[in-house]
Structures are given as C-alpha cells and as structure tokens.
C-alpha cells in the first residue's frame, strides 16, 4: 500500500459522495503516517470547503493559503534533505581535474584550435549578397558626392570632396580620374597634398603610374613633389621607382627635394 493508493481511494469516496470508512489495513497505514493523515484532511477540507460558499471570500482565501502551506510542509518533510559537503582543496582539485573533465576540456580546446586554423580567409568567407549590394551602393553614393564636391570653386569644399573620396573604396574610375586631374592642375597646394594623402591609402596605384611618374618628375612645388615621390616609392612598381630615381638623380632639383632623394638613395644602399 502506498500514499497514492490511499489518496486515490479518498478522492473516489469524495467524488461519489461516499461515507465509506477505510479498511483496517488502510487505517493502520494512515495512523502510521501522520503526514498522510494531514494530507487526507486537507483534501477533505479543500473538497468540501469551496462547495459551501458560492463565491470566493476573504476567509476562503485565507483557508486556502493555510492549507497550501501545510501541504508544502508535508511535501518538504517527505523529500530527503540535500547534504552539502564542503570539499577540501585536494578534493576540489581531484574533482575538477579528474580524467572526465580533463578529457572534455581537451576535446573542446582541440575543436577550437581546429576551427581557428581552418576557418576560411576573410575574402573567402561567404558574404551576404544583400549586405554586399548595400555596401556597393553606399560606396557609389559617396563617390558621386566626392566628385560633386571636387568640382566646387572653393578650396575648402574641394578639400571636403577629397575627404569624401577617402571614405569610398577608390575603385570608381570617374572619381580616380577626377583626383588625378586635380592633382596636376589644382591651384591649392593643400588640396593636392590631401589627394596624395588619400592615394596613399588606396590599395593600388599601378593603373595611374603613367600619370603620377611624369607629375613627380616635372612638379615645381617642392612639397607636392616630395609627396609624389613618397607615394611612388611606397606604392609604385619597381619599374616606376627605378625610373623616378634615375630621372630625379639626373635633374636639377629644389634643395629640399634633393635632400629627400639623397636620403632615399642612402637607404636603398643600406
């Protein structure tokens, strides 16, 4: 006989409104288990209580919560209490460095290293086509805005255009053609230096070496000439670099440009 058997019997009696008494065996079992007796009493009270009142009242609420509390305490007294044990350091170490946990940690680390080393290169990673399209559109708009500002009469606005071109990816041919044209013809040294600064951040200038090389050789403004040389020496092809140095070494140059070229020559011999 179990607790549930007795409770089921009690519920059946209440359901059929029966006044039958439990069997002696059952009665003995109930007597031997006070908690079960309390629970049966709660069930009877709960079953009979709400039927006597039409609507829930304050007294009913109070009764209900009292009974609920009793039921919870009965349940708690039946459940075995967890035993908390304070582990010593040695035991703690043994627990967490046990073969089971060490194996799990090793497997996790191995998978992490495997994934890290075999992840696809950024350029090979799958790209969301929608995001890529949006990025291209933004870059195109930025390039158009840059071109528009570059054609203004005010040097400050042209500088803003150069700043916008820095934000684009410098692959727009029209934008690059505009920058090259302004590099050779703009009357403001500040604008030309800003363009050179922008070109320094371009991925490649190989397509424009045939424009930059004669500009660097024939430039009259020493500051601009130095920056042109720096750009070609940093980013130009070997052919362009050699041609530039050959031409400049044979020319009469501004003193500051000559100093710059001499330093480059000295570094190249180191």
């Amino acid at each position: 006989m179990t607790y549930q058997d007795v409770i089921d019997w009690q519920l059946e009696q209440l359901n059929y409104n029966s006044n039958a008494q439990p069997s002696p065996e059952m009665q003995d079992f109930i007597t031997a288990n006070p908690e079960l007796k309390q629970e049966l009493a709660f069930i009877k009270q709960f079953w009979n209580g709400p039927k006597q009142e039409q609507q829930p009242s304050q007294r009913l609420d109070t009764n209900f919560y009292n009974m609920l509390s009793q039921a919870q305490s009965v349940e708690a007294s039946r459940r075995p209490k967890p035993v908390t044990k304070v582990l010593s350091l040695q035991e703690w170490l043994k627990h967490w460095f046990s073969p089971k946990y060490m194996t799990q940690a090793a497997a996790l680390g191995f998978m992490f290293v495997l994934g890290f080393n075999f992840q696809p290169a950024p350029s090979q990673a799958p790209v969301d086509p929608g995001l890529q399209s949006l990025q291209q559109e933004v870059s195109s708009l930025t390039s158009m805005l840059a071109i528009s500002m570059l054609q203004k009469s005010s040097a400050a606005e042209r500088l803003t255009g150069v700043a916008y071109s820095q934000q684009s990816d410098l692959t727009n041919p029209e934008l690059m053609d505009t920058l090259m044209l302004m590099l050779g013809t703009d009357k403001s040294t500040s604008v030309r230096l800003a363009i050179l600064n922008t070109l320094n951040s371009a991925q490649s200038i190989s397509a424009y070496e045939d424009v930059l090389l004669p500009l660097a050789i024939n430039e009259k403004n020493a500051l601009v000439q130095i920056e042109l040389c720096r750009l070609l020496l940093n980013k130009g092809s070997n052919t362009a670099r050699n041609e530039l140095l050959t031409q400049l070494n044979s020319m009469k140059l501004d003193k500051d440009v000559k100093d710059f070229i001499n330093k480059i020559n000295a570094l190249s011999q180191v």
Binding site: A121, S154, A155, A156, E157, L159, T160, A163, S188, T189, S190, V191, L193, A194, N197, N200, S201, A222, L223, I226, N234, D256
Partner: protein, 283 residues
Amino acid sequence: MKPSILAAVLFLLPATLSFTSAAEQNYSLPLSKPGEATSLIAEVHTGTVSVSGYDGETIEITARVKDVDPEDMEKVKRSKPPRQAGPEKKAPSTEGLKAVKSRMMKLEIEEEDNEVYITSQYSTQHVVLDIKVPRRADLGIEVYKGGNISISNISGSIEASAYQGGITANKVSGPIVAETYNTDIVVNFDSFNKENPTSLTSHKGNIDITLNKQVAAKVNVQSYQGEIYSGLDSEFVAIENVERSNENGKQSIEIASVMSTKVNGGGQDITLTTYSGNVYIRK
C-alpha cells in the same frame, strides 16, 4: 532681378587729387543683394591686403600706393626684354624740369550678384588695400609679391595665398585654406566651422594657430624638418598604415609623417603642413 555690374577703373594722378599725401582713395561699393551671401576675390601682384569684417552691407575700399622695394624694382627692370639696337637717338632735354614720382595705380573693381572682384596687376607699384566687408563674406585673397595678408573678424570661408608676405587671420571661424612659401601663417580661431576642413600649408614658414577653448576638431600636423609645439591637453599620435599582404607572407607597416590629435572629442579636420618651419598650437 537683372544682375547689376558695377565696374570702376581708377587712375590716380597726384597732381589732380588732393585726398592725402599718400594718394589714398576711398571707395564704397553697395551690394546688389544686401543681407545675402557675399564673396570677395582680391588678386594683387605687388601689394598688401587687409580685410576686416563689420556689420555693414557695403564694401569699403581704401587704396593707396607706396614705393616698391628697390631690389624688386631692379628685378622687374631685368625681366624686361632689352631694346633692339638701332640708330642713336638724342634724349630730350630735361633742363628746368623735375622728376615726378609716379603714383599711378591701376585697380579694377567689379561687383555682380554680391560677388566682388578686386584686381591689381601692376608690378612697379606696391598697392596697399584696406577692405571692409560684411562679416559673413567668403574671401579669396592672393598676393604674389610685396606684403602681408591680414584678415580679421570674418565668419565666412577664407582662401589666401601669399608668396612673399605672411598671412595673419584673427577672430575667424574658418574654414581656411592658406598657403605661404617662406613666411608665417598665424591664425586665431574664435569659433570653428564644422562643415568643411581647414588646411594651412607653408614650405618654410612657421604655422601658429590658437584655438578657442570650446573648439572641437581633429588636428593633423606634418612637419618634415621642423618642431611641433602644442599647448593642447590631448597627446599627438602618429597615423600609421598597416598593410598585410598574403603574398609571400609579406607584411609592411608604414608609419606616416602625419601626427594627429582630437581636441574636445574631435570634429572637422585642421591640417597643418610645413616642410622646415615649426608648428605652434595654442589654446
């Protein structure tokens, strides 16, 4: 509204005009559209230009002439092609005559839809211009030889180039794009325009700027051989470009010659570039 074009060509003869001993001429030019955007373009071959902003709606011009530096005059004479040899002519007699020092000045002034153009292309006279413009005016000033460019109390954009003289701007808000060759650029910002960048460039001159305490900007400095002196609280850091190439495992790091700092959290760019001059940033 049909644009009005006002052109005035002034030829000054000291014998006929009796304004001042320095043959000073004053001229007041009303704007076609008072209260609207205004611009002043002044191109002077040899001279000094001072522009100040005020609360009026006319362009006030004071022009006078002073002697050109003798060394410059010699250069002008040497630049002229020699006369071809011909039959010897006898010079007219100057007995009883005295030499009259030339004070002729050719100055062209035009105004169209609030755009004012002032040009002086004379190379043998040093023209001194004092100009008053509405404070909001945009300026474009170029002086090839001679003296300085001085600007004060202007809230519009400024573009200035001086190849022998220096450039001084006081109580301005920018943007300013200014350039000198071997003379200094001195700018005092009382406020700062956030829409467009400012750039000051000099090949050998110093660049000296003063920023108002409330100015928020990103200051970029490049001096190849000079020193940089800063009174700002923030530190300058070198801008570097790191390029990693997967080809042959090559990596390169380029530490550029530009140093940068953010003032009051950063904002529009102020770029200061000089080859051998010093840079001074004051607060």
